[in-house]
């Protein structure tokens, strides 16, 4: 898993593990912006994201000893961040509320390919970010893990506590929710069939 915008700083990690405060500061400076952005995408409010970023770095101090240096630090850091954000959402029962919608076996209708293509073409990044905030916790988290953190399906399954086979379904449902949000209720997904 490659993490955009982040530099691997193996040496700083090793020094931080040895208790070097400067190395710790280095790690924070390098990774805090990306982790904040991750939290900003995953959590409902800016304040939540700020709090979560600080908590993740405080947690990191305790967990750094568990980090396997043979693996990517940034990938591991995202795992910690994902678990933390998911815990927050789960505690707030947002997930539970939204999950009831998911659990309902409402079939997803097949989109009209040309309409979908048109919608995607029209929308800007900013509009997508705005629409993301309207999604349920799991849908948002799934999209963030996949398209921000570039996590594999296995990693997403692990982070969300779902079976690997359902990750595609979770992502598809999330996309449908996003399209509905982008369209402002008149769901494209419910639009037509080809």
């Amino acid at each position: 898993m490659s993490v955009p915008g982040m530099t691997e700083t193996t040496e700083a990690v090793a020094r931080a593990r040895a208790g070097d405060a400067d190395a710790w500061g280095e790690l924070y400076r390098d990774f805090a912006p990306a982790i904040f952005r991750f939290c900003r995408r995953a959590l409902p409010t800016r304040e939540d994201a700020e709090d979560a970023t600080m908590e993740i770095f405080m947690k990191l101090r305790d967990k750094l000893s568990q980090y396997d240096e043979t693996r990517s630090f940034s990938a591991w850091l995202y795992r910690v961040a994902a678990n933390h954000c998911w815990d927050i959402l789960r505690r707030r029962k947002i997930r539970q509320d939204k999950e009831t919608e998911d659990v309902e076996d409402v079939p997803l209708e097949h989109p009209d390919p040309s309409q979908l293509d048109k919608l995607i073409e029209q929308k800007t990044s900013e509009e997508v970010r705005h629409a993301l905030q309207k999604l349920g916790a799991r849908a948002r988290m799934a999209l963030v893990l996949r398209y921000y953190s570039d996590m594999s399906y296995d990693e997403i399954a692990d982070a969300l506590g779902v079976r690997r086979a359902f990750v595609g379904v979770v992502l598809l449902r999330a996309r449908h929710e996003l399209r509905q949000a982008l369209e402002g209720k008149s769901a494209l997904a419910a639009g037509g069939t080809s």
Binding site: R95, S114, Y153, G161, G168
Partner: protein, 562 residues
């Protein structure tokens, strides 16, 4: 790629070519299909314009999502940018504060609590042992350690252990450390008593018959307990009516409604109960928690009598001192040592004699008959209810204790930051924690005492009582932090929380201090704070123990066909 259903169905049931379903297209676009299926999808897309468009749209959607996510739309908030620097700076003065508070707290604990008790206990004939070893370590589970472990040693060990945990917690998984401590505590509690055969007898009337000789300790439990024979060891008794008519070479330790010692106990008598009558002899000391104790005219206690609660009548002889907290002491016989009483009244009859100092703090002068033989006059101190509130001494100690509590809070926040935050968050709801607090405050000690009725339940009961007592001490800290959060706003930074805890705790103390002397109102407000805090801690604990829900079931999209 294995899907629960078969989402990839390029061919319809009748062998005709349908459109690809969306999940298949997504999995193809995301390179999650196996080679064979991917080839089937690719082949289909070449011939089907609609599916090709869908695949293109999904890929475009993926790119849009990635772009939207990765764009740096807002800078790192200044709060986060300064977080690391602030945390480092705060550590410097906090370290100094820790040492200052630690020194203050230990000094307060020692001078205000430990030292006076040690002096009193030494006066009362317990020299060489400490309060803790007296009350706890002479119990069934630690017998033999009392000369080794003193209260100060225990405090020192706890302090070192606490700071050790703080220092090494980065290297220890918090759960493991706590598990280790609890396991150690449980192991200590359940360790069998060292040496000696131990016998258990439980019956309606549990007894050691006259002709019997028990070698080793014995546990007796029943509505009526009689020891008429000889026990060459300790006797642990639990029952309604207890009669010791025989000879016990060790200690008698128990709980009862009434206990009569007509025989001979060579060791100590330590008991909690309603009535105790000593007509025989006790070779060492008597410690009694309960309503009344009488050493009748034929009775003799060679050591000290310590009593907490009710009335003490000495018609016989006490070889050393009397240490008394309760209602009334009446001396008709002889006390060869001193009397230290904090109670309502002291009566010394004409037949009474006291060989040492008599220190009495009460509401009225001691009633001493002119015929009484006293080595020195009674040193009387008038006890004025709540008078302490008007002295500067009270406020100085109040400040010292506040510092000590803040130190405790600081250690707890560092040791258990997550649980501390959860407790504070639970406390912010006010109503629920107070409701639960009432239940826990009264219910837990009752349950713990009930658990102690059985020998097996004693460790659990003691542990529960200990945790309950500790939670009560932490209650005001939780309330203080909630108040601090209300005033200064919430934060997730541990040091920020500690600052709010300290400030809030001081505010609670400042507000409560003038209310405390107001008799009923003071008590009610104090109780309210306890209930609130202990309820918040219980609520946080309850939430921790709730099983976490894991999501696994969800709908599977239906493949679209046309």
């Amino acid at each position: 790629m294995s899907e629960p259903a078969n989402p990839v169905s390029p061919e319809g049931p009748g062998g005709t070519l349908d459109h690809l379903d969306e999940i298949t297209c997504l999995l193809y676009a995301e390179r999650q299909l196996d080679r064979a299926r991917a080839q089937a999808v690719s082949a289909h897309a070449q011939d089907c314009a609609a599916c090709r468009t869908l695949l293109k749209a999904l890929e475009r959607e993926s790119r849009l999502l990635t772009r939207a996510m990765l764009e740096e739309d807002e800078p790192l908030p200044s709060r986060l940018a300064e977080f690391q620097e602030r945390a480092r700076k705060s550590h410097q003065w906090i370290s100094g504060l820790i040492f200052g508070l630690a020194a203050t707290g230990v000094y307060a604990l020692y001078t205000n609590f430990v030292e006076p008790w040690q002096q009193r206990l030494e006066q009362a004939g317990f020299g060489g042992t400490s309060l803790l070893s007296l009350l706890v370590f002479q119990g069934a589970f630690w017998k033999g350690w009392q000369s080794v472990i003193t209260l100060l040693e225990v405090l020192a060990m706890l302090t070192v252990a606490g700071f050790g945990l703080v220092i090494f917690r980065r290297r220890l998984r918090r759960g493991s450390a706590l598990a280790l401590v609890l396991a150690g505590l449980c192991a200590a509690l359940v360790l069998p008593p060292p040496a000696g055969a131990t016998e258990f007898r439980k019956a309606q009337t549990a007894e050691v018959k006259q002709e019997e000789t028990i070698k080793g300790d014995i546990y007796l439990s029943g509505e009526r307990v009689r020891v008429e024979g000889t026990v060459d060891g300790d006797v642990y008794v639990l029952g309604k009516d207890i009669d010791i008519d025989g000879h016990v070479t060790g200690d008698v330790i128990g709980g009862c409604q009434s206990m009569r010692i007509r025989g001979r106990v060579d060791g100590n008598l330590r008991s909690a109960g309603n009535t105790g009558i000593i007509s025989g002899s006790v070779g060492k000391n008597v410690t009694w928690f309960g309503d009344s104790v009488t050493v009748d005219s034929a009775g003799k206690v060679a050591g000290t009598v310590s009593m907490f609660g009710g009335n003490l009548a000495i018609d016989g002889q006490v070889g050393r001192d009397i240490l008394f907290f309760g209602h009334e002491v009446g001396v008709n016989g002889a006390v060869l040592g001193s009397i230290w009483e904090r109670g309502d009244s002291l009566i010394i009859a004409s037949t009474g004699q006291v060989g040492g100092r008599i220190q009495f703090k009460g509401e009225q002068q001691a009633n001493v008959s002119p015929g009484a033989k006293l080595a020195s006059p009674v040193e009387f101190t008038q006890r004025e209810r709540r008078s302490e509130y008007s002295t500067g001494h009270y406020y100085v100690w109040r400040i010292i204790w506040t510092a000590a509590f803040i130190l405790l809070g600081l250690v707890l926040f560092l040791l258990l930051p997550k649980f501390a935050s959860e407790s504070v968050a639970a406390g912010e709801r006010v109503g629920a924690p107070i409701g639960l607090g009432v239940l826990v405050f009264f219910g837990v000690p009752i349950a713990a005492i009930l658990a102690c009725i059985t020998v097996v339940g004693i460790p659990l009961g003691l542990l529960t009582l200990g945790l309950w007592f500790f939670a009560i001490n932490c209650a005001e800290l939780v309330v203080g932090t909630v108040v601090g959060n209300w005033i200064f706003g919430r934060t997730t930074d541990v040091w920020g929380q500690i600052g709010r805890m300290a400030a809030g705790f001081v505010i609670v103390r400042i507000v409560y201090t003038p209310i405390a002397p107001l008799h009923v109102i003071g008590a009610l407000v104090g109780l309210g704070i306890w209930m609130w805090g202990i309820g918040a801690i219980s609520l946080a604990l309850y939430k921790r123990l709730q099983p976490k829900v894991t999501g696994s079931s969800m709908g599977v999209p239906v493949a679209a066909t046309s």
